[in-house]
Amino acid sequence: MEAGFSHRHLLDLASLSAEDIDHILRTAQNLKEILSRPIPKVPTLRGKLITHLFFEASTRTRLSFEKAAKALSADVFNFTARMSSVEKGETLLDTVLNLEAMGTHLFVIRHPMAGAPHFIARHTKARVINAGDGFHAHPTQALLDMLTVKEKKGTLSGLKVAIIGDIRHSRVAHSNIVGFRKMGSEVYVSGPATMLPPEAEALGARVCYRVEEALEEADVVMALRVQKERHGRKLFPSLREYAQAFGINAKRLSLAKDDCLLMHPGPINWGVELSPELQHHPQNVILEQVTNGVAVRMALLLLLLGGAS
């Protein structure tokens, strides 16, 4: 294990220091090389059992964690809430304790309720990684975003990061605001004001009601998915108006710096938050984010589960 990473769990970025984040990103950069080998696998975590507890749909995050675990030779249990005893009324705590009794060393949890990973971390001896909890945090997504920016820009400080979209219901925005602020960058957020809470300023973001103001001279432009499934009520009148007023297109992107990065955590609603003309735009690094996701998750598994590197 690399010295200097003392956390038992990765629950959110608020509990990490800038040094911790830097440590994770450096570890990920080192591990990335493994992924380009002819046989992209090392035996480091042989014998470790990682249990994926997914109480919400996921493609990228779940498979990315699975790929990371397998590249390090760990065993993986894939638990999904559907087709499990959760449907018979088993509590989260009982589920976790049972899977711990089967030998789980680390839980990767995604849950619709904010704080669910913090809750299980208090009750299990295993390690816990938050793979997204409600509207709260998605720390591995923010770390992979930061790794991508660091690779392209060489630094994470002094940048202007613009996040556009549904800020209120986005755990990705939440973790990126916290993470980029910790690393010394400015974060501007914009979107429909019904999804743009003034409290975002409590996290250190600057709230802009004009999208253009957030985009001007930005180094990083991050569009968020319009999360139709998360809104109790309609928070904007139509997708058409959303695309017109808040969607990122080539013209809006030209307000940002020439070498800005265009990012999106996926899945993308093309034609809503991103105009299809940006699909092959030279500044689009969306798929590189995905590759970096595997490296970041490998780094976290390694740092939390030990194993000689």
Binding site: A114, H136, H174, A202
Partner: protein, 424 residues
């Protein structure tokens, strides 16, 4: 049976008293107050160094019986009450089934009589099934022993229903207590909207929602000329509305709970479900405003909103966890912190815990005037103790104050001249 409390510091704002005197109780009544009383055949209890006050009345508790006896029963709830220095409690109607008819009211009183510790004043529902639609039978409920009306926990959604309740309550002289919350703004809310909701990624409950609801209630009290009591005020905005309503002469009274002047939303920041409560813990600015309102008289009562929940409802995901915390055994020491800090004096403390709730509920007590019921709370303002699950009498242990070192403790609780609890 004669009981002589010797040499205690009598604090009784109903008579403007704060001095060392003897107190004689006889046949369930206060017989005399005076210096060095000589009485034949009385049992003498030395109260030197202790404060002797009219019995504390908690006008907002949840006893959970009938229906949720795994959380609390009338017996365990009353054991907690007397251990905390309360000689009477008003119990809220959100039992299962809810106390919306005379039969449930009678059941509660019958159980309370069997237990025989603190007095119990049942609060009955304003509307049938707490559904906010049809009024309950206020007359029948009053005859069965109900002392007030509230749909606590479920605010009456429509102003017109609340108007009818305030009007009809006048026929039976029953106080109406409002849980003031604008439901459409708080729906799905978990914590205070602001720092806590932003940090935790949980849906917020804006303080403006409480203020909107309080404003509606005072306007209806104005319209109907009927008194309204606002339960568990948690916001500065709400206090400002109550202050201006009182200045206008509207018949409004208000209570707050110790957690609202002791804690802020930061207590929820680790997803600590013990700090999950409705209304939620608010900002430091709100907390300070509550402290000031207690001193100033805008808030009339400290009530606990004692809300027992077992581990089943509390050791779980924050959004799944039940709202509420227990308070009967911590209200006195937490309130004494404000006396120690100089926010108000002991006399004001006794008004908040005894005189005012008696007046608002129109029940006996709240005074040590000769002839009044011999309900007395004696406490040691200096005793230091640590709150642990083991010392709690309540069946549930859901309090964010576990592990706190507290100062001040009830040592003797007397109801109708009978010692129902003593640490002496």
């Amino acid at each position: 049976m004669k009981l002589l409390l010797r040499g205690g510091r009598i604090v009784d704002p109903s008579q403007g008293l704060d001095q060392e005197l003897d107190l004689l109780l006889e046949d369930g009544r206060v017989q005399a107050l005076g210096e060095k009383l000589e009485v034949q055949g009385a049992k003498v209890i030395n109260c030197q160094g202790l404060v002797v006050a009219p019995g504390f009345i908690d006008m907002h508790v949840h006893l959970r019986e009938p229906g949720e006896e795994w959380k609390e029963t009338i017996e365990t709830g009353l054991e907690a009450a007397v251990a905390g220095g309360f000689t009477a409690v008003a119990c809220m109607p959100n039992t299962k089934p809810p106390n919306d008819n005379a039969e449930i009211t009678r059941f509660i009183l019958e159980r309370a009589n069997q237990v025989g510790l603190a007095r119990v004043y049942p609060v009955a529902c304003i509307t049938k099934g707490q559904k906010g639609e049809e009024l309950t039978e206020f007359g029948d409920l009053k005859a069965a022993g109900a002392r007030a009306l509230s749909d606590d926990g479920r605010p009456v959604p429509e102003a017109v229903v609340m108007r009818l309740a305030l009007e009809y309550a006048k026929n039976f002289d029953l106080p109406v207590i409002s849980h003031a919350e604008e439901l459409s703004l708080s729906e799905g809310g978990q914590v205070n909207e602001g720092l806590a909701s932003a940090t935790l990624g949980l849906k917020g409950i804006p303080s403006q929602g409480e203020a909107i609801a309080i404003f509606r209630e005072v306007m209806l009290a104005h319209l109907t000329q009927s008194p309204i009591h606002i339960a568990h005020v948690s916001t500065k905005l709400g206090i400002e509305i109550i202050r201006s309503a009182k200045a206008r002469g509207i018949k409004v009274t208000a209570e707050t709970a110790p957690h609202y002047f002791t804690l802020t939303e930061t207590a929820t920041l680790g997803y600590d479900t013990r700090a999950k409560v409705n209304p939620p813990l608010r900002s430091e600015e709100d907390r300070q405003a509550i402290e000031e309102a207690l001193a100033e008289g805008v808030i009339d009562v400290i009530a606990t909103d004692h809300a027992p929940h077992s581990e089943l409802e509390k050791v779980c995901e924050f959004e799944r966890a039940a709202c509420g915390l227990i308070g009967l055994e911590t209200a006195l020491p937490l309130s004494l912190r404000l006396v120690e800090r100089g926010t108000f004096d002991l006399s004001r403390l006794v008004s908040l815990l005894s005189t005012n709730p008696a007046r608002i509920l129109k029940v006996p007590g709240g005074t040590l005037r000769p002839g009044s019921p011999a309900d007395v709370t004696v406490f040691d303002p200096e005793e230091r103790w640590v709150l642990t699950p083991e010392v709690l009498r309540s069946k549930s242990k859901n309090t964010p104050f576990l592990g706190w070192e507290l100062k001040g403790r009830a040592v003797l609780t007397i109801v109708s001249g009978r010692v129902v609890f003593t640490r002496l």
